[in-house]
């Protein structure tokens, strides 16, 4: 037990050389502001808890749920500690009492595009999650009817992915001969 004065200080100093970024967290998720709009960045694991917390805090409605494919633009503005993945789930909630909106951006990896479904908290996300599955191929775990909603049932591919080409193809009918 050497009582060298200043030793603990040097220990602390070495620890403190890491840049400390103060991140505000709310509802268990890092917070950023995008053009005056409140944005939360929960992880895939903590997504459901964050939404649950929002729901009990008066966010009565899940207004919108969609995704973005960042395949061709991997760099973007994310808070420290949130690793960018190819897909991002974007969900908007509204609190009527507080007249406030909040947006969730959840990073979803392409090799395991599975996210918990919000159906049990907000049943109105049923169609929105089906659309996101249809357009991006992101699967919502616990959804009661994870099927295509806009494209034909037997369609291959997910059109809003960035690697799905834009081009003219014949009008599609169910059970018709395939386009390619």
């Amino acid at each position: 037990m050497s009582d060298v004065p200043g030793e603990p200080d040097t220990d602390e100093a070495t620890v403190d050389t890491e840049p400390v970024v103060e991140i505000e967290t709310r509802y268990g998720a890092p917070v950023t502001r995008s053009l005056d709009q409140l944005v939360l960045h929960p992880s895939v694991e903590s997504y459901i808890e964050t939404v649950q917390a929002l729901h009990s805090d008066g966010f009565v409605m899940c207004i919108d749920l969609t995704a973005v494919d960042y395949l061709t633009r991997p760099k973007r503005d994310l808070p420290h500690g949130v690793a960018a993945e190819r897909f991002e789930i974007v969900a908007s909630f509204i609190s009527h009492a507080a007249r406030e909106r909040v947006r969730l951006r959840v990073q979803v990896a392409v090799d395991n595009p599975v996210v918990a479904s919000l159906f049990d908290i907000y049943p109105g996300t049923e169609a929105l999650e089906r659309e996101t599955y249809d357009m991006f191929g992101i699967v919502f775990d616990g959804h009661p009817d994870m099927t295509r909603i806009l494209m034909p049932e037997d369609w291959e591919g997910h059109p809003l992915r960035k690697d799905f080409a834009v081009g003219a193809i014949p009008v599609q009918f169910k059970n018709a001969p395939g386009p390619r």
């Binding site: 969609t66 909106r101 169609a127 034909p152």
Partner: protein, 430 residues
């Protein structure tokens, strides 16, 4: 009336569990599943039939899969996608200036609202504010458009319920307002009038008189609607107590607009989260008491009157000034300058070929369309095209409420329910 404080924001545990199992009003089967469906002896009379997509009362190409017991709807499922043309994908290939031509084709009964949401989102990313006159012109146009949309509803709803004469009356009044919109924008529908930075053109000479003519003639015609429909016993029998829904269900299902307000829940973005200059005009948010088809009909009829009230105030308060922002980055030069200035010609050419660049970022902007909250989520990568452009169509989300309204209703009531939900398939399928 339910106020904001006393609402119960969820359906309770029992309600939520029920949404999943066999007693759920939503028929969650695929087409192959519907073919293979078998019933036990007790439910032997049940069968699954299609309504639509070509049925005239399904408002375009909505298809409903109905599970019937005799003439009673047990479960149902709206099947959509027949009008899907990938407009969100197309939006990624069009510049911000071309964007409104795309989104205006989504909700074709209220095209100016999609243009407005798109333009507001772009302006938010650009961090610009449009001049006062542009704001008030946008409000004027949106309220006129709300009137045409609700008049169209009166026409189609009347025809669906069997008051076939309404088809002519509703259409006639709508055409008169559309004629004014055509005079201002150049087109009856799909105007491409509201654009990032302002509006496409100033109001034409004599616009004030034209608006006044409409404001003076329409109230009488709406009173005729009241005479023809509102008090009539057959009309009331067909609509009252049909397709009832409560506020908690609407909130849980994400339902907005007249459907939510019909339950007595006063929520209107124009009043509660004002955009444009809606905080400077007086109007009432109309609510129903029973959440049935009749309340939805009455709310839409009276919202036409409220819109006229707003339009009258806009006439008084319309400011002078520019109808679009004078920012060379986003605004093309005036036509006359192009003839005399080489730089103006180059400027014009560059804006219309390359488009203007929008700083990196993402934003969600919402407006109150005649059908509910119409939102635009836009992601910019710093280029001249949106990286992602998503429209939150109110009809798309509102459709989910149909099975809940239809459970235990008759097939004839299903027609009334489809009609008063008032979905526009262009917006549902995008």
């Amino acid at each position: 009336m339910t106020t904001l404080d006393e609402t119960t924001p969820d359906l309770g545990d029992d309600g939520r569990v029920r949404l999943r199992d066999d007693t759920s009003p939503v028929l969650r089967v695929s087409e192959a599943g519907a073919d293979a469906m078998t019933y036990d002896d007790e439910n032997d009379r049940r069968m699954i039939i299609n309504m639509g997509p070509q049925h005239p009362s399904t408002h375009g190409v909505l298809r409903l899969m109905l599970e019937l017991d005799g003439e009673t709807v047990k479960r149902s499922k709206p099947i959509i996608g027949y009008l899907h043309t990938g407009m969100e994908k197309t939006g990624e290939t069009l510049s911000y200036l071309q964007g409104p031509t795309n989104v205006t084709r989504m909700d074709y009964a209220a095209p100016l609202f999609s243009e407005l949401a798109f333009s507001l989102a772009t302006e938010k990313l650009l961090d610009i504010e449009v001049p006062d006159r542009a704001v008030w012109i946008r409000m004027l146009m949106c309220e006129l458009n709300r009137m045409t949309s609700h008049l169209l509803f009166q026409a189609t709803n009347g025809m669906d319920i069997g008051a076939v004469g309404m088809m002519i009356y509703g259409w006639r009044e709508r055409e008169e307002v559309l004629r004014l919109l055509e005079k201002i924008t150049g087109l009856r529908m799909n105007h491409n009038y509201i654009r990032p930075g302002g509006v496409a053109a100033d109001l034409p000479d004599g616009w004030r008189d034209d608006v006044l003519t409409i404001l003076d003639t329409l109230p009488e015609r709406l009173d005729e609607f009241d005479d023809l429909l509102t008090g009539q016993p057959i009309w009331r029998e067909r609509l009252q107590g049909v397709g009832v829904i409560n506020a908690a269900e609407c909130l849980a299902l994400g339902v907005t607009g007249p459907l939510l307000r019909s339950t007595g829940y006063a929520w209107d973005l124009r009043r509660d989260m004002p955009y444009l200059a809606y905080d400077e005009v007086d109007f009432d948010v109309l609510v129903g008491s029973y959440g049935d088809c009749f309340d939805r009909y009455a709310i839409r009829l009276n919202e036409i009157r409220e819109s006229m009230r707003i339009v009258r105030q806009i006439l008084d308060k319309m400011p002078t000034g520019d109808y679009r922002i004078q920012d060379k980055k986003v605004t093309p030069p005036p036509r006359a300058r192009i003839d005399e200035s080489m730089e103006a010609l180059i400027h014009h050419f560059k804006i219309f070929t390359e488009g203007f660049k929008v700083p990196e970022g993402e934003a969600y902007v919402a407006v109150e369309s005649p059908r509910g909250e119409l939102g635009c989520y836009m992601v910019s990568d710093g280029g001249s095209h949106p990286y992602r452009m998503h429209i939150r169509g109110p009809s798309f989300v509102n459709l989910q409420v149909m099975p809940h309204m239809m459970q235990e209703a008759l097939v004839a009531d299903a027609v009334a329910i489809v009609s008063t939900v008032d979905p526009i398939m262009g917006e549902v399928d995008r």
